[in-house]
C-alpha cells in the first residue's frame, strides 16, 4: 500500500531528525512528517546554539544524563556530520555575595552530577580566561561548546535522507488513529499516512500529539526568549559564552554567546507565554537585552552592532497532576503499542538529541527485533564553505567549478556554487530562508541587500518556479505579487 511506513516520525526538528537518523541504521521504511517547509523552524532553530555540559539541567536525571552523554560524544558527531563546532568552554559569572553562594551550590551540584573539569574561579581567573568578561566569582565549565543549531539539524536530516528516510513538509498532523489491524493512520492537513510505528518528536506541539496517541495530557508551560544578533565586529571580542548565575527557577537569564560563525548572541529574555506561537520582537525586551547584555559584556553590546533579532519558545510541559515542569519524557506503554512519546524536550535538547534518539531506538527494540541496515553510512558532507578555505583551496575550488568564482553574498562571502548546491538540497526545500540556513547567505550585516535578488533569481531559474510561488520561509510568505507589467 502506498504511504505505508514502518515508522512515521512526527516533527523534523533536531530530535525528530536525530531519531530518523538513528532508526535508519536499521532496515525500516521511515518518513518524517513536518508541518513547516523546512527542518528546524521551531525550537531547534531558535535557541542559543550551545553544547551544554549538563550543569544547568537541575534535578532531572534523564535531562542531565542525556546532556552529559551528548556532550561527551560531540567531537565525533561533529566530524561525522561535518558540522562546525568549537569546544570553547563556558563561564558562569556572579556579582556579589548572594550570587557567589548560588554559584557555589551550582558547583556542588555539578560535582555530584559528574560534570567533567568544572572549577570555581575568582575575578582574576575570569579575566584570564576572557578579558572582556566581568564578575567577582565564576564557574568555568571546560566541556561546554558552541555549534550552529540549524546546521546540525540539517546535517542530521540530510544524513537520514541519505540513508533512505523520506521528509514530507507542509504536513501538520491533525489526528492519529489505530486500525483494528494495528496500523496507525496519521491524518495531516494534506494527506493520510499509514505506519506500523509512530514516534512523537513534535517539539512545541508534542503535548498535542501525546494526547492523539493516547499518552498523558501534559500542560504546556512555554517560555519565550528574545535574542539580539551582533555583528562579527563584536564577535572578535569574545571567545567563550558568558552566563549569569541562575535565577530561582534554575533558568539562566540573558547570556552572551559567541557563535561558531563569529557573531554574538545576546539573550534570551525569559517570559512565560500561552499557547499562541508569537515570535515577535518587543521594544521592552530589546531594551532589556541592551541593558543586561552590557552588564556581562561591557562596551560591546551596542546598537551599531545590531544585525537582527529573533525569538524562540522553550517547550516546557508540566505534569497534569502536580503542575510542575517535568523531566525529558521518552515513553512507551504496553497499552499503546508501537508508539514512542518524546515530550518536554526543552534545553538542552540540542545537546541531547542523539542520546534521546538512541533511547527511542531502545524502546522500539523492546517491542520488535530490528535488523541492521548494512548500507547505513553515518558520514555526511556539508556544502564546502568558500569563505573558510585557504587561498590554495579557493583556487582549486574555482578551477573545479567556476561558480566558486562568483560571490553572491558579499557579507558572508558565499559563492554561486554554494547557493546552487543549497537550492538543490537533498530534502527538497525551496524557500529563501532554506538557502540562508544552508549557506549563511543574507545573514551578514546587509541582511540580503546584495544577495537576496540573486537567491530568488536562482530559485526561479533552477527550480523553474513562478515568481509568485517563491516563498521567504513558510506557507503564505510570498515574496512577489507577480512580474512588473
Amino acid at each position: 500500500m502506498e504511504n505505508l511506513y514502518d515508522v512515521v516520525v512526527v516533527g523534523g526538528g533536531v530530535v525528530g531528525s536525530a531519531v530518523a537518523r538513528e532508526l535508519s541504521r536499521y532496515q525500516l521504511k521511515i518518513c518524517v512528517l513536518e508541518k513547516e517547509l523546512d527542518v528546524c523552524n521551531g525550537v531547534s532553530g531558535r535557541n542559543t546554539g550551545l553544547l551544554h555540559s549538563g550543569i544547568l539541567s537541575g534535578d532531572q536525571p534523564v535531562r542531565t544524563e542525556c546532556c552529559i552523554e551528548g556532550n561527551a560524544e560531540f567531537d565525533q558527531v561533529a566530524k561525522e556530520l561535518d558540522v562546525p563546532f568549537k569546544r570553547c568552554g563556558k563561564l558562569i559569572v556572579g556579582f556579589g555575595e548572594e550570587e557567589k553562594q548560588c554559584l557555589q551550590q551550582l558547583y556542588q551540584h555539578g560535582l555530584e552530577c559528574g560534570i567533567p573539569g568544572i572549577r570555581m574561579i575568582d575575578a582574576d581567573e575570569i579575566k584570564a580566561i576572557e578579558p572582556n568578561a566581568d564578575g567577582d566569582t565564576g564557574i568555568y565549565v571546560p566541556t561546554a561548546g558552541i555549534l550552529c543549531p540549524y546546521t546540525y539539524t540539517i546535517a542530521l536530516a540530510e544524513n537520514a535522507a541519505q540513508n533512505g528516510v523520506e521528509y514530507h513538509f507542509d504536513q501538520k498532523v491533525t489526528a492519529i488513529s489505530r486500525t483494528p489491524g494495528g496500523e496507525y493512520e496519521i491524518q495531516t492537513e494534506n494527506g493520510m499516512w499509514r505506519s506500523r510505528w509512530v514516534v512523537n518528536c513534535a517539539g512545541l506541539f508534542a503535548y498535542q500529539i501525546s494526547v492523539m496517541l493516547g499518552f498523558e495530557a501534559y500542560v504546556p508551560k512555554r517560555v519565550k526568549g528574545e535574542y539580539e544578533i551582533l555583528d562579527k565586529k563584536a564577535g572578535k571580542f569574545l571567545s567563550v559564552p558568558i552566563y549569569p548565575a541562575p535565577g530561582k527557577a534554575g533558568d539562566c537569564d540573558i547570556h552572551i554567546t559567541p557563535t561558531v560563525d563569529g557573531n554574538i548572541l545576546v539573550g534570551p529574555t525569559l517570559e512565560d507565554v500561552d499557547e499562541t506561537i508569537d515570535y515577535s520582537a518587543t521594544q521592552e525586551k530589546i531594551d532589556q537585552l541592551m541593558e543586561q547584555g552590557a552588564r556581562l559584556f561591557p562596551r560591546h553590546v551596542k546598537r551599531e552592532y545590531f544585525i537582527r533579532n529573533y525569538a524562540g519558545i522553550f517547550p516546557y510541559v508540566a505534569d497534569p497532576g502536580i503542575q510542575e515542569r517535568v523531566d525529558f519524557q521518552i515513553q512507551a506503554r504496553e497499552d499503546i503499542p508501537h508508539a514512542v512519546n518524546v515530550v518536554g524536550i526543552s534545553t538542552p535538547g540540542l545537546t541531547s538529541a542523539l542520546p534521546i534518539a538512541r533511547r527511542v531506538v531502545e524502546k522500539v527494540k523492546e517491542q520488535e527485533e530490528l535488523r541492521p541496515n548494512e548500507a547505513f553510512n553515518p558520514v555526511r558532507k556539508g556544502i564546502v564553505r568558500f569563505a573558510e578555505q585557504t587561498d590554495e583551496e579557493k583556487m582549486r575550488l574555482i578551477e573545479e567549478d567556476p561558480d566558486y568564482g562568483e560571490i553572491y553574498c558579499r557579507c558572508e562571502c558565499v559563492t554561486k556554487a554554494e547557493i546552487k548546491q543549497a537550492v538543490h538540497n537533498i530534502l527538497g526545500v525551496s524557500t529563501v530562508s532554506g538557502i540562508k540556513y544552508r549557506t549563511r547567505a543574507t545573514m551578514g550585516r546587509c541582511q540580503g541587500g546584495y544577495c537576496e535578488t540573486r537567491l530568488t533569481a536562482m530559485i526561479e531559474k533552477e527550480l523553474q518556479q513562478d515568481v509568485k510561488d517563491i516563498l521567504l520561509n513558510q506557507k503564505g510568505a510570498y515574496m512577489f505579487v507577480g512580474k512588473v507589467k
Binding site: 539580539e228 544578533i229 508569537d278 515570535y279 515577535s280 520582537a281 518587543t282 521594544q283 530589546i286 546598537r303 545590531f306 544585525i307 537582527r308 533579532n309 529573533y310 568558500f386 587561498d391 579557493k394 583556487m395 574555482i398 578551477e399 567556476p402 561558480d403 566558486y404 568564482g405 562568483e406 560571490i407 558579499r410 557579507c411 562571502c413 559563492t415 550585516r445 546587509c446 541582511q447 540580503g448 541587500g449 546584495y450 537576496e452 535578488t453 530568488t456 533569481a457 515568481v467 516563498l471 521567504l472 520561509n473 513558510q474 506557507k475 503564505g476 510568505a477 510570498y478 515574496m479 512577489f480 505579487v481 507577480g482 512580474k483 512588473v484 507589467k485
Partner: protein
C-alpha cells in the same frame, strides 16, 4: 603576482570618473574591478531621471549618466574586469579578487576605494514586531523591479523619507501599487526637496513627519504597520498611534558607506561618516589608498560623486609620480550644527574642496570656517538642510597657521 599602478575597487560612478581622470593625467596602468556583470554601479537600477544637471547641464536617467562614463573609459582603453569581487585588500596593497578564472592577486602601487554604500536594515534598527515576508529595503525593491522584473507588493507603506524611498514611492505608484504613507521619525524629511515634490506631492502620497514605526504585524506576510507620534521630549505621544494596513513595507532609513574592505586594509574610519578619514588628496590613513564617492561619505547627487572622484585622481597621480604625498597635519573639525566635514585633515598649503552636512535644518545662516579664532571664510546660505550636502572651495591663502580648522553654522 600581477602588479598594477592603480587598482580601482568598484566600477560605479566614482570608480569610473576616477579612472577616466587618472588616464587623462597620463596614468596608463589602471585596472577597474567590478563585482557586477556590468559597469555602472547602483545607477544601473536608477531608471528615473534627474542625474547630470551639475556635471553635464542636462537631465539624464541613471543608466544614461553612467553610460557616458563607461563609454569614455572604454574609448580611453582603460581595462576593467567585471563579475569579479574583491574579497580582501591587505595593508601592503595586495588586492585579492574572486573571479570565475581563479583567485586574482594584484600588487597595486595605489588603490582607489569606490565601493559605494549599503542600506541600513530593519535588523540594525531593531524595529519590534513579527518577521513576515514583504519587508524590503528601498534599494532592494528598486533592484527587484528595475533589474529583475519582480513586483514586490500592492499596498505599500514606506518607512523613512530617504531619497530612494521617495523615488520608490513614485515608481511603485506608476506600476499600479497603492502607497498609503511615508513615515519619517524626524520632524523634517531626509530626502531632497525636489523628490518630496515630484515623488510624493505630485501623487498625493501623505508624508507623516515625526512618526516612529513602533510595531510590525502580520505573518506569514506583513499585514499592517503601527506608527506613533514622537513628542518633543523624544518620547511617544500616548494615543497617537495610527494603523496602516499594507502588504509591503519599504525601508528607506539611511545609507552606510561600505567599508569592510577598507578595514581589512587597515584604513581608519570616521565615526560620523562611517567612511575613511581622508586628507585633502582623498588619501586615507594608509599611504597610497584613496577613497571617494559614497564609500567616503554618502552623497545626495551623483554629480558630486563624479566631481569628487575626479578631484581624487589628482592626488593619486601625484602620489604615483612622487612615491608619496606630504602628510597633512591640520585637523578639520565639525563644529556647531555640522554633522561631518570632508576632508578631515589638510596641509594648509593647497586649495581645498570642503564637503559637509548640517545636523539640523536651519533658515538663513552662514557657514563659517575658522582657524585660531579667525574667520577664514564665510558662505551665506538662504537655508541649510541635512538632506543637501554643502560644498565650497577654500583657497590656500586663507589658512593662517597650523592650528586646527573648525567649520560651523552661524544662524
Amino acid at each position: 603576482m600581477n602588479t598594477r599602478e592603480v587598482v580601482i575597487v568598484g566600477g560605479g560612478p566614482a570608480g569610473l570618473a576616477a579612472a577616466a581622470e587618472l588616464k587623462a593625467l597620463g596614468v596608463d596602468d589602471i585596472l577597474i574591478i567590478e563585482r557586477e556583470k556590468n559597469l555602472g554601479g547602483i545607477l544601473r537600477q536608477c531608471i528615473h531621471d534627474g542625474f547630470g544637471l551639475t556635471r553635464f547641464g542636462e537631465t539624464l536617467s541613471g543608466p544614461e549618466y553612467s553610460q557616458r562614463f563607461i563609454d569614455q573609459v572604454k574609448e580611453m582603453g582603460i581595462e576593467a574586469i567585471t563579475n569579479a569581487t574583491v574579497i580582501d585588500i591587505s595593508p601592503d596593497k595586495v588586492v585579492t579578487a574572486d573571479t570565475t578564472e581563479g583567485l586574482l592577486k594584484i600588487q597595486a602601487k595605489a588603490i582607489v576605494l569606490t565601493m559605494g554604500c549599503r542600506e541600513r536594515t530593519r535588523g540594525a534598527l531593531a524595529i519590534p514586531g513579527t518577521r513576515p515576508s514583504g519587508i524590503y529595503n528601498a534599494g532592494v525593491a528598486q533592484s527587484y523591479m528595475n533589474l529583475f522584473n519582480k513586483m514586490v507588493g500592492k499596498n505599500i507603506v514606506i518607512m523613512g523619507s530617504g531619497d530612494i524611498g521617495l523615488i520608490m514611492a513614485r515608481r511603485l505608484t506608476l506600476e499600479g501599487a497603492h502607497v498609503s504613507a511615508v513615515i519619517e521619525i524626524l520632524p523634517y524629511p531626509s530626502g531632497l526637496p525636489r523628490n518630496i515634490e515630484q515623488c510624493l506631492h505630485d501623487y498625493d502620497i501623505p508624508l507623516y513627519l515625526g512618526y516612529s514605526v513602533i510595531d510590525i504585524q502580520g505573518e506569514p506576510r506583513i499585514e499592517r504597520v503601527i506608527a506613533a507620534k514622537v513628542g518633543e521630549n523624544g518620547k511617544l505621544v500616548e494615543g497617537s498611534e495610527i494603523e496602516f494596513p499594507c502588504d509591503t513595507l519599504i525601508l528607506s532609513v539611511g545609507l552606510i558607506p561600505e567599508n569592510e574592505l577598507s578595514l581589512s586594509a587597515g584604513v581608519v574610519l570616521d565615526d560620523r561618516t562611517k567612511g575613511a578619514v581622508v586628507d585633502e588628496n582623498y588619501q586615507t590613513s594608509v599611504p597610497g589608498i584613496f577613497a571617494a564617492g559614497n564609500v567616503l561619505h554618502v552623497h545626495d547627487l551623483v554629480d558630486f560623486v563624479s566631481l569628487e572622484a575626479e578631484d581624487l585622481a589628482k592626488g593619486v597621480f601625484q602620489y604615483l609620480r612622487d612615491g608619496k604625498l606630504e602628510e597633512n597635519e591640520i585637523p578639520v573639525c565639525a563644529g556647531e550644527n555640522i554633522g561631518h566635514v570632508i576632508p578631515q585633515k589638510i596641509s594648509g598649503k593647497k586649495d581645498i574642496q570642503m564637503s559637509l552636512r548640517v545636523r539640523k535644518p536651519v533658515g538663513r545662516c552662514k557657514v563659517v570656517v575658522k582657524q585660531a579664532g579667525r574667520e577664514l571664510k564665510t558662505v551665506s546660505m538662504p537655508k541649510a538642510i541635512p538632506a543637501e550636502m554643502i560644498q565650497f572651495r577654500v583657497k590656500a591663502e586663507a589658512f593662517v597657521s597650523s592650528e586646527p580648522v573648525e567649520v560651523m553654522i552661524n544662524e
